[in-house]
Amino acid sequence: MANVLLIEPDAVLARTYIQALQHVGHIVSYAACAQDAILAADEAKPDIVVLELRMAVHDGIEFLYEFRSYPEWQHVPVVVNSHIAPSNLEPVRTALQDDLGVVALLYKPKVSLQQLISQVNGQVALP
């Protein structure tokens, strides 16, 4: 069981992910935008973050820069689960993985709930 912070701008998809993650025993807190996500992280003390990069006003990368600027969140694993196609993420892949500590880049249309759960479980099980 882990504290998962889900950052997902689409309310309907968010409900689906929350139900799936809760079903396998995780505690899920939720934010729909980058501003709320920082507050939610402060409150929930997440063990892992699942993040959509495409958000209104401040995007996921902006969120990550702020998130990583706090010492307590520098080692929290972040799984990106985005509608942005992998080819379009190429220019920022190095920054995401090396500088911002993204542990997995998932392409939302192709990733099932089971695959997302496996990623989350795998990351929180790591020592």
Partner: protein, 237 residues
Amino acid sequence: MQGDSATTSQETTQLLRSVAEQLKMPLSTIARQAELGQLTGDVSLTDLSAIRTHASAALTLVDCYLLGLQLIREQALLPLEPVSVSSLLVETAHELQAFAKQYDTTLELHIAGKYEPVMAHHAGLKSALLSLGYALLESYPVQQRGRMSLAVHRTPNGIVTGLYGDFEQLSSKAWRTALELQGKAPRPFESLSGNGAGLFVAEAILQAMDTKLRVGKHRKQQGLATTLQPSQQLSFV
């Protein structure tokens, strides 16, 4: 002529890219919802209403895109006829209600007073408003959710109809920039989470009715609307 054809091809390509990107949202929702019941072993968790409304939204976007594409390609104008804007708004609101509910938004219909028929293409105007509605509802900033209006009001320039909400950052400049960036940038509208494909599809259809979308206000809400001309013919009757 070659220049015109190149522009048309560029326009249609950009519109297609926007629509393809936008379609990922309803299709992902349908796929994940269908999976949820299977995963949990509790089929009642699968929200059939979400699947139905998102499938309708996707199909409407495809239909509207095809109409927009045809109009751009043929550089055609839709034939205008007297249309009752009030009844068209009632029909449109009826189709958008379930989708609005999925996004915790109440869609209000504001038709104050009586309006004479406007010169429009019934199916074209309805497609444009539906396309606009789905796009705005899906991208509505979470903090502002709660209420959106499908409305009509009269101005000295004509009868204005559109969708309004608490889109504080929506300005004429932002809309012009978005039109330039559509199909090129992942988020032409900084203040919306989606790529707004439906807005550009609506604009393409409205242009074929010799009108366009403009940023406007209605009862302190900000939105996108179009100005239609009253039918002179029926005014005399």
